[in-house]
Symmetry: C2
Subunit: 628 residues, 2 copies
């Protein structure tokens, strides 16, 4: 069995390893073979059938994992998490299952979370099939608008060949729980189509599993609302519509591409590559299965299809620092003047944020010398799909010494000089959630610092420019508004500093005014270290947009170093983001984690909303998991 690729690696990290393609297939085959589930292949079917949507690792319970890692207990049973869309039943719903044991599953059981109802079918993520059906609905909706679209944009949607329109769909899909109606923004389908809205937005109700019952509810064109495509078409023919005539696409094309253009006036070379990361003496990190080692660091990692990178069992020189550090969720909430802009509140784990991990280009997305790893996702597909070069790992020269000191002798020489080169190991993946590419980095520094970092790049989510739109953003092209929005990202950080029983305290500087001990008439005003234990969760949560205490410390007060200080780790927060919505407003309630710059609780890892709500089936009301 040693050569059987379905057998977990003989490393303690393997209990956190993602499912192999063989394991994914084994789970699929097992569930497809259970007649009571009544599963059909998802490709080419209808929405009104039962399909397997997602299979991924179900990580072991922390208690069992620690017993295995720390006390030599047995490896926890390896299990899968499977998400099934029950679309073919009287009461359609979405159900999550635990399936095991791997590699040869023999049973499943529904996963229920305390206090959470069954996930309604209308709250499910989008699928390729539903997009295909929506495409057909848009063909019908835009056929009457052919003349308007052709005249105004030179492009059309139905029956097009090279001058096609495409669309971006908006979430949330409604104004109240249980709705499933989405705004679609039409765009010229050219390179960088996100920046080519044509001014037409269409609201389709697609709640019913039967697409024949779908309905076009509203249209918005260049500032005006219409109740049907026919109404808009008629008014256009009557000349009663303000038409936004876009210039010919050829001249418009270039601005939205990455094609190099323009030139720098300085004459410095731009036709050669710039500085590169290279490894003249080879690699200084080690990768064994899903265990990564670098300097004192050792950790297990996985790429969860639903939410992204997860680190487990982080240790520095054998001592555990954190049990888990994971990407949980990313959201982007917008403001604007068009219905699509007003409505946009993307909650990206619902779009399979961990599954859209497309190829990293060596030399651009990561250095040429990086190690590239593939990922396999079974997400809205009938089997595992390979994502080549989904992850990269490399050592980065930070360009600044970690420490240095030049000790002058003040005679033109020195007593001593010493310096340490600055390096960090980078573990990276991306999530291209339609227009955005999130770049997810974890950085390991040789001095015991770990950094989680995210960049948002790609294209902005832009809407059609209207004069009133300036209240909500900046005009970036003749017909394009870059809408204001806030990105918030949620990480789960389960630190275990010298054990699992940690305390949290903050430290700030306060000032004191005391007599000067060496000059009786004088006084000393000076700072002192104001430590505040934060024993309750309420005292341990800090609202976004207010200045955080200077130091946030996790400690084990029962484990002290030789100078008497509690073993501690500091959390350093670097963000200038504020709230995305006023507290308590409808859509804000579904992302209550977004209220806090930092929230700590002893129960944090037991809260489903924090530990697993990022996947399919969390949330409520119109902030249910959304998809585009």
């Amino acid at each position: 069995a040693g050569a059987d690729p379905t057998v977990p690696l003989p490393d303690r990290a393997s209990i956190f390893a993602d499912l192999t393609p063989a394991e994914l297939r084994a789970v699929r085959d097992f569930l497809m073979g259970c007649p009571e589930l009544g599963l059909s292949p998802s490709r080419g079917g209808t929405l009104a059938q039962n399909t397997l949507f997602l299979v991924e690792l179900l990580p072991p319970k922390k208690r069992l994992a620690l017993r295995h890692l720390d006390e030599g207990g047995p490896a926890p049973r390896r299990q899968a998490r499977a998400v099934v869309f029950f679309g073919g039943q009287a009461e359609p719903n979405v159900t999550e299952f635990a399936v095991g044991p791997l590699p040869r599953p023999s049973s499943y059981r529904p996963l229920r979370f305390k206090g959470r109802r069954r996930v309604p079918f209308a709250a499910r993520p989008m699928t390729q099939l539903e997009y295909e059906l929506l495409h057909r609905a848009l063909v019908q909706a835009t056929e009457p608008l052919y003349r308007l679209l052709r005249d105004a944009t030179g492009f059309w949607y139905h029956n097009c060949t090279d001058r096609c329109l495409t669309f971006s769909d908006i979430a949330p899909r409604g104004l109240a729980s249980g709705e499933r109606r989405s705004w679609f923004m039409l765009q010229r389908f050219v390179e960088g189509y996100f920046l080519h809205p044509v001014g037409l937005e269409i609201l389709i109700n697609h709640r019913d599993p039967d697409p024949h019952r779908w309905a076009i509810q509203r249209l918005w064109y260049n500032g005006q609302y219409f109740s049907s495509p026919q109404e808009l078409a008629e008014r256009y023919e009557q000349g009663r519509v303000a038409v936004a005539r876009l210039s010919d696409h050829a001249s418009q094309l270039l601005f939205s591409t990455y094609v190099p253009r323009g030139r720098f006036t300085t004459g410095t070379p731009t036709d050669v590559h710039g500085a590169k990361v290279c490894e003249p003496q080879g690699r200084r990190y080690r990768l064994r299965g899903n265990r990564l080692e670098y300097g004192g660091w050792s950790l297990a990692f996985r790429l969860r299809s639903s939410s992204g990178l997860q680190l487990f069992d982080l240790r520095f020189n054998e001592e555990r620092v954190a049990y888990e550090v994971s990407v949980q969720e990313a959201i982007a909430f917008y403001g604007g003047d068009t219905p699509a802009a007003m409505q946009t509140k993307y909650i990206d784990a619902g779009w399979g944020m961990g599954s859209v991990t497309y190829e990293l280009a060596p030399g651009i997305d990561c250095p040429e010398v990086a190690t590239y790893l593939d990922a396999h996702h079974l997400y809205d597909a009938d089997g595992p799909v390979r994502f080549a070069r989904a992850i990269c790992i490399f050592e980065l020269p930070t360009g600044v010494p970690l420490r240095r000191h030049f000790n002058s002798n003040f005679q033109g020489g020195y007593h001593f000089y010493a310096g340490l080169e600055g390096h960090a190991l980078v573990l990276r993946t991306t999530s291209t959630v339609y227009n955005y590419d999130y770049i997810w980095d974890f950085l390991l520094y040789p001095n015991g610092v770990m950094e989680a970092k995210v960049h948002a790049t790609g294209f902005i989510h832009a809407t059609f420019y209207t004069p009133q739109g300036q209240r909500y953003g900046s005009r970036v092209q003749s017909h394009v508004l870059g809408n204001l929005h806030t990105h918030l990202v949620h990480y789960k950080v389960d630190l275990d500093i010298a054990g699992t029983g940690n305390s949290f305290e903050t430290m700030d500087l306060s000032f004191e005014n005391i007599p000067n001990p060496w000059s009786p008439d004088a006084r000393v005003v000076q700072p002192w270290l104001h430590r505040q234990p934060r024993r309750s969760e309420r005292r341990a949560a800090f609202p976004l947009g207010q200045a955080l205490p200077r130091y946030l410390l996790f400690s084990n007060p029962r484990q002290r170093n030789r100078w008497g200080h509690a073993r501690s780790y500091r959390i350093q927060h670097s963000s200038h983001a504020g709230r995305v919505l006023p507290r308590g407003w409808r859509e804000e309630r579904g992302i209550s984690w977004g209220r806090w710059g930092s929230g700590w609780g002893s129960r944090q890892q037991a809260l489903p909303g924090a530990s697993r709500g990022a996947g399919v089936g969390g949330g409520e009301a119109s902030c249910r998991p959304v998809a585009r």
Copy 2:
């Protein structure tokens, strides 16, 4: 004259170029030759004589520089700034002079700043000569303490050979304006002596130019105060002093060095170099004299001996973005339990922050492939001194793409992919102000972003550990306290966005609650862009420690881009520092810039405190320029 090295380079940047060694010598020779100044060589003399302390470029007035740069006017007269210590007169003082024209100076005139009195002699920076005299005073002070020091530490100060003590001196040098009395902290003189305080601190009054009139005013040893060395020595002999016996230095030596020790448990290689910055296709920046060009960027730079790196005439694609961006000042204010710790409020420009630009080590302080430049300072020396490799310039691969997008076709392929490698050009110098090494970076990004960044490294300013000291820091060794302190850094940023007449506004998100235009019963709560012009300086200053507005924008409202937006630059602030002292407290008044996270004023560049106070002679009360 073309080959004469004293002739400025024929580039417009040359008006900002630092003085050449020949120019420095010419200024020195000219002033030394003026009998009315009565200058003596500074080496080997006394404090009671007139000496030339500093010579550096006196940059041209902005108005004249712009007339030259933008309107083809004549190059402004090239002038030097010279600082003279008039110690040999009835009313000793410090005077600054403008000296010109270069390269062959023929006249000088005192530089007077509105509202500022003549700088008193007691407020001058320290010199090598004064340190030498203080060393002799400490020899006298410690001779009676020989037995105590030898017994307790194994080291002594006077007449020592290999087991010597050294000292750190503390600023400010007194409690009121006009004083010059400093605390000296004794340390074992081993590698990393900053971490080896022995528990003895001595207060010396060295105000009088005649060192015979200096006096030892106080001593502190291990928690107790004494009025003279004799008192401490007697009490020690009587067994009435609590002695802090330090362990033998051999076992104590290692911890304060950079000598590699310990090992990582993972077994990843540590005996080879890690990733490096390399330039397989050569350099993409150009250096001509003091003009640096990279991508669209072009700027002039200098390394001002008194304060550090200064950039002038920053342009992106020929358009000026800023007239000047300069390091002005760096301070570090402490709290603690010993008199030295309580008193420490370093104001580093007074320590010649721009002159302590020691050698950068290739491969550690900057990549091997960097360009290294020498600097020449005439600062507390009788002629120009060459500082080899004081500046480095290199292109850094940031390790993350500047932009990228992978546009999936959702069929396993893609519509388009594009990405741009991430790079920045780094211009770096360091200031080793005794224990600290500031690393000063300016980064130029190809997209028009410029970043100013400072790292503080080297050794902490540590004091002798006492149990009460824990209120003010962390114990880091048996007898060492790492004291809490705050670093603040002051940059002058004179943006000129599309001209000199700029406005300042802030932008934040506000929320609105409006009827939903496509669903009559519903409402939309969404953010909008709240722009606030900041017309008065009071409304344009933001106290440290409070959350800044989200966006700080400098604009030229009369220059608009083709979409109607005012040409603008955003300032992005990244710091979690708070106030160093309560507002208005004695020493806080001397660094009033430190109250503000950002302060903008149309008059900013005309305020001496902002534009030149960082040099010799600024400030007042006990927060006069200080030196160690």
